[in-house]
Subunit: 205 residues, 4 copies
DNA sequence: AATGAATGAGTTTTCATTCAT
DNA sequence: GATGAATGAAAACTCATTCAT
């Protein structure tokens, strides 16, 4: 909604920028997941991305920019997938679909989400605020869907309970990303989605 | 339950060790919360704790040890508070009390918990495994309480659902620690406990 | 003879590596001679070599590597100079030439030899073993030359005396390096070589 | 001959000083031999000697003093053993006895001698000069014995060759200390003394 | 005399970033 | 646009020495 926070590059060719940044994001996510932001060196990222350290710095200004690009990329994808829910507004089914789509996305981009939640605190103030704002926008999407359900009468919870319920949905998604190692012993992403839809609705219906 | 993992000190006086370590933990938690483990220097920790860098290293061997001491201290406190629930085994009231005690502890030690969940991945292999084991022991406490309720008949969920329910309780606690900045606008810890007790029980009763 | 023990460098250009390492060896030998390995800092070596501390560490991984490079360089030179003795095998003249070449080399590289014998014990296990092996190879060269003389009949000493005689030659070389300060008052390298050739041969002929 | 270089102690009781210093020398020699002067900490020396770091510093002023005490102790012993040679002055037998006594001493105090020759360069200027002077005094003892033999006519070498011959004797002693690991495979100290007496005399007779 | 906790200057090493080629 | 050698600030950690008890 708000204007994007752009990262300057000394390269002009936009499509080249996009390609190089994708390469570096892929490499960086892998490395950040394994070793964390601080233990990963820019040299390693460049190598993993397939180009030189000099080239890396043609497309970003600082190491932190890579972390920001990762976080920003996630919200782009969330926005994209949640903005096209083909289901009647105000219906419980729409809520369930949103949960399913969101959790499925987390499953597809587990590493990215883990990096987002583990490392984003390493961002400088302004980038961090941008990311927090995006996070709240994401929670707000679920608040919106919940509100519609309350208005339509399909959900009977108080106004006050909506934010916590939205946070709840988001946090249970995080849980899948973070506790996968423990949870995959018992559940697949499909069964996890089923159970969470069930329990979350029991909690608020 | 298992033997503690001890951190060597070159100082002999045990009570002095305890005191100095408490000082450094207090300072380190504050700094780690603000700037993260990697952005905090050992000199800053020493200064915050009120002694010199040399003295700091008389009580630990490596920076990582401080992080470990923080994590270990949390589990000590969890163990202590959850091991003395004066309530009939197998009762729903006991479960609610446990949740209340646990969430209250998280509220008392929010910074410590945030550091635990944000930074513990920076621990070396053996320390990390120790911390993960402790984390699982903590989840196991809630599994035990839930199981008692199932046995007594006060709770009617399947065996399979117990682990996820226990994780759920723990994760909702984490949520308070991590999302406090968003949640305190709407809830106090008391109201949060009430709502969570209610919703968690709706989910499993 | 055996494969060389390589020191990793993060610089790719081989000729640059060779040049920079030569620079740092020259500086380090001077400093190690003056103050010893431990009293010399890596910063001082970098400064003496004419580049920054960061650059130094682009060409080695640890301070110890510099010491190793010095030691290894000596054996390269020994090998080089002793492998091309143009003199009939088994002749006393060949033995005298070898002694002369070796002592002349020690005179040319006195500082390096002193560092080798004074500081090599500071090497880690594997580097130390490599250096000891090289040292023994060097003694073995003289044993070989002596053996030829015994076979040809120009030398009449027992098999058992060969190792001690070879050590003897090497040690008298060390003596020139270590006791130069006392010996140069009385002898030049040329007169030292003459006297030693004479005495060593008297001892074994 | 010259006045001793005294090391100040804040303790008054002379016999206590002597005892404590013996303890610390014994411990330090062991540690210096194993790890070198710089890699050995004063704490380790104190521990090995059986008292605290505080006590250590009651008997010396600086770490270096311990090294000096070791070196000085060796020369005391050399002086003691070589000043009472009961043999006719000017006889070859006296020279052989001196060599035997000296090499036997090196065998008795191998570790001390190795430390002397390996580490004495770590002494500060004035202590180093004192040690070098003592070393020359020791060489001078052999020069004296050689000179007597020349005067008595039992040895027929030029005046000029005397210093090198004396150095030679000393250096062959060092060789036993340093190359023991290689030499003990072939020789005992007794056979080494025999062979050296023989070869050294062949060299100068 | 003995102890050992406290100190902080000094050391090695790393790594983000720059810039000449 | 791409490269990679050069840089130096900054960080963790050590250890000789002191001094209050």
């Amino acid at each position: 909604m708000k204007g994007k926070r752009e990262i300057a590059s000394s390269v002009k060719d936009e499509s080249l920028i996009e390609m190089r940044r994708k390469q570096m994001i892929r490499g960086a996510v892998k490395l950040f997941k394994e070793k964390g932001f601080h233990r990963t060196t820019t040299r390693e990222i460049a190598k993993e991305a397939g180009f030189s350290i000099g080239t890396l710095y043609e497309y970003i200004r600082a190491k932190e920019d890579i972390l920001f690009l990762i976080c920003d990329g996630i919200y782009d994808e969330v926005q994209k997938r949640l903005s096209t829910l083909e289901m009647e507004e105000g219906s419980i089914e729409r809520l369930k679909l949103a949960i399913s789509v969101y959790y499925q996305l987390i499953d597809d981009m587990t590493d990215e989400f883990v990096v987002l939640y583990q490392e984003s605190k390493s961002l400088q103030k302004d980038a961090l605020q941008y990311v927090l704002r995006k996070e709240l926008e994401m929670v707000a999407i679920f608040e919106g869907i919940l509100k519609e359900c309350v208005i339509s009468g399909e959900l009977r919870i108080s106004e006050q309970e909506i934010p916590i319920a939205a946070h709840h949905i988001v946090v249970q998604g995080q849980m899948w990303a973070f506790r996968r190692w423990a949870l995959t012993k018992e559940y697949s992403i499909e069964s996890y989605i089923k159970i969470q839809q069930h329990q979350l609705l029991k909690g608020i219906q």
